[in-house]
């Protein structure tokens, strides 16, 4: 038969098993308009029928900062490296919020979208990517809050300022996004079968924040608890947050080695996440 010659003309071959590395990035690119639509949908639906609208983007980090200033700053008296307390916390919070939102939202992507995924095909990766981009909008708004705060405290005469590390800012944001994305992808793929992980994410992210230098500077841990500092240093978010704070406020333990370590962990988690996600997306509809 001439079936072999004909085979080359097929546009699409649907098979049970495909190569692990067939990641369909071309498909993702073809659906880029969909990504834009999802981001728009998320943004519009967030504030529709609310009175304060996009103002809610500000309120959450503001209140969190106030509470942290009171609890960790005043009551517990944790050092903030000579920086105004609200500024120190707000800086960490904006970055941490972005990472944790990317992580938690991505980690439920299969479950939340089971009804759409069960009815129509599009590259599934579009969904988590749209989450990361949507949160970027939110992060951008919160960054404005941070800048306003900086101006306020600067006028009050505090001594701090941007450092040249600010040039790394785009890279830091991408790293936070990809780290959250990669981890989230792994978790969502596993939760299609093992629901247990869902519970872990809920409080795991919360606890992880205390393992990151959000509410304390890194050198405080290194001085006070040298035996446990390695846990904090092992956390790939630590390097990113320290660099981020150093870039904006000029304080923190910024060094390229820990940033490089974070980058490597990010890439490994991202690769693993995308691979597992792609493997799972083919059949998850049957088990969820």
């Amino acid at each position: 038969m001439d079936s072999r010659a004909k085979d080359e003309n097929w546009d699409l071959v649907i098979k049970g098993h495909s190569s692990l590395f067939d990641l369909k990035f071309r498909d993702v690119w073809r659906y880029r308009d969909l990504l834009r639509m999802f981001v728009k949908r998320d943004f519009i639906s967030f504030y529709k029928q609310t009175v304060l609208g996009p103002l809610w983007f500000f309120l959450q980090p503001m209140f969190t900062t106030i509470v942290y200033t009171f609890v960790f700053g005043s009551v517990a008296g944790i050092s903030t490296d000579g920086l105004p307390k609200p500024l120190f916390y707000l800086c960490g919070i904006t970055a941490w919020q972005y990472f944790s939102e990317c992580l938690t939202k991505t980690s439920t992507v299969f479950r939340d979208n089971a009804s759409i995924f069960g009815k129509v095909y599009f590259p599934r990766l579009i969904m988590p990517l749209s989450i990361v981009v949507s949160n970027l909008v939110r992060f951008g708004v919160q960054l404005l809050l941070l800048l306003c705060c900086m101006v306020y405290f600067y006028l009050k005469g505090y001594d701090f300022g941007f450092t040249s590390a600010i040039l790394l800012f785009p890279i830091l944001v991408v790293m936070m996004a990809l780290l959250g994305l990669g981890t989230g992808l792994i978790i969502t793929a596993l939760t299609t079968k093992y629901r247990d992980l869902t519970f872990l994410v809920g409080f795991g992210v919360q606890l992880l924040m205390y393992g990151t230098t959000v509410v304390y500077p890194l050198h405080t841990v290194q001085q006070k608890h040298p035996d446990f500092a390695w846990i904090v240093e092992l956390n790939p978010m630590t390097g990113i947050i320290e660099a981020y704070r150093y870039a904006f406020l000029g304080s923190g333990a910024f060094d390229y080695a820990s940033l490089f370590y974070s980058a490597v962990v990010t890439l490994v988690l991202l690769l693993a996440g995308v691979l597992i996600f792609n493997k799972t997306e083919r059949n998850f509809v049957d088990t969820i």
Partner: protein, 424 residues
């Protein structure tokens, strides 16, 4: 003229795990991984050979929703996929639309596939009609430019122009469906897969949809796969039919033949009785037998139109509350249109625990000759249906004896009651 093959389905099977998924899956997954990947053995949890019959308890937790399906579809064909619930139609559509992957085998496709397993997938209630057109279009694989180009046409087709900038949560369900179908109907894909979306909307809009789908397949030479229980719809615009039964392709032929085969498959031989096993609701009832016969004749004799027809239902109730239940039948013609429903309303029969034999007599000269089928409903307290099954039995009514010299053909319609005529 037949075009090139655009869809080629080769040895496709799909297995599902039934029962509880959860406990013990980690250990089982590990075992499975070691056996298949490291030792190179066959997957111990996939036993080929069990049929997907809901009513019979199987040995393993794996059912084959589709087994070794093979067929080809040529360009420009409109193919109807027919089968009872659970025959594997939806699974086939899911595989074709890439929602889930086949367990074995491959499907080869030429051109873009757009599938409509549901209208309005991804519609967001807070967004306006216009925004949802873009969102839904993008989900279905359209580029933004494409949608903008067709926007006016889509809005026009949907007939909801006035509300296009209103959030769709304020739409009536009819408007919602119209808008959703309008988007789908303007997809520019070479292959369109449609799953019973026509069951929604009012009659006028249904006609519009059918017309549009006819245009798509006949006028534009695109390939359409259509799944429906409405045999009239399948017959009217499909030129090809595939009948699925228990995950196997039973017949793959012209649409008329396939429809006839599907409707006739209940009683291949002339036997107007059927026995049932495991049909019912556990703890309430088991349906045991339904038999039709002319009064005074046997179930093996053909049913003649000029004799009364008795429907005998044997049903066993397993509850002391049996009196709360009653049976309703719906009568369908050979293309699956409902004709009417009937039950013991005016002369209620009180069911008892244990076996009940219920008889319903349809007067003579009532049916027009032809094929019919019944759907059974078991109703609780005359309000709530607790069980229903279509095509529970199908039967053929044949012409009775007629006087010589009068019209011998088949009159139109499905019933021919005799009325009183006289000079006024």
């Amino acid at each position: 003229m037949k075009g090139d093959t655009v869809i080629k389905v080769e040895n496709v099977s799909k297995a599902y795990q039934i029962g509880q998924i959860g406990t013990g899956t980690v250990s089982r997954d590990v075992e499975r991984f070691i056996r298949t990947r490291i030792l190179g053995q066959e997957d111990p949890f996939l036993k080929i050979g069990e049929t997907n019959d809901r009513s019979i308890k199987g040995e393993s937790d794996i059912v084959w929703s589709l087994r070794d399906i093979n067929f080809e579809i040529a360009q420009g064909e409109a193919v109807g996929i027919i089968g009872r619930n659970g025959a594997g139609k939806s699974t086939l559509l899911k595989l074709l639309s890439r929602v889930t992957a086949p367990t074995t085998g491959s499907i080869k496709v030429k051109g873009r596939i757009a599938s409509l397993l549901e209208v309005g997938t991804g519609f967001h209630p807070e967004l306006t009609g216009r925004e949802n057109i873009y969102l839904n279009g993008a989900i279905l694989g359209m580029r933004k430019k494409e949608i903008t180009r067709k926007l006016d046409e889509i809005i026009d087709f949907s007939g909801v122009e006035r509300y296009i900038d209103t959030p769709v949560k304020r739409y009536s369900s009819g408007m919602y469906v119209r808008l959703a179908f309008a988007v789908a109907a303007h997809l520019e894909s070479e292959i369109l897969i449609v799953d019973e979306v026509l069951a929604v909307g009012d009659a006028e809009f249904q006609k519009k949809c059918l017309g549009k789908m006819g245009d798509i397949s006949k006028g534009q030479g695109r390939t359409v796969l259509f799944v429906s229980h409405n045999m009239a719809a399948v017959k009217s615009f499909c030129n090809h039919g595939i009948v699925l039964e228990n995950g196997l392709v039973k017949i793959n032929s012209e649409a008329d033949k396939a429809v006839a085969f599907y409707l006739g498959s209940g009683n291949a031989e002339t036997n107007n009785s059927r026995q049932y096993q495991n049909v019912g609701v556990r703890g309430i009832f088991d349906l045991e037998e339904i038999a039709l016969r002319n009064t005074g004749k046997d179930v093996d004799d053909p049913l003649a139109e000029d004799y009364p027809i008795e429907i005998t239902t044997r049903i066993r109730f397993n509850t002391s509350e049996a009196h709360r239940y009653n049976i309703t039948y719906h009568l369908f013609n050979d293309i699956g249109e409902a004709l009417f429903s009937f039950h013991d309303g005016d002369n209620p029969i009180s069911m008892q625990e244990g076996e009940n034999r219920i008889k319903c007599v349809i007067p003579k000269d009532f049916f027009q000759s032809g094929n019919f089928s019944l759907a059974i409903y078991v109703v609780e307290n005359r309000r709530k249906s607790i069980f229903s099954q279509r095509d529970i039995i199908s039967f053929t009514v044949v012409d009775g004896e007629r006087r010589m010299g009068i019209f011998m053909g088949r009159e139109p319609g499905y019933i021919k009651p005799k009325f009183e005529w006289s000079k006024a």
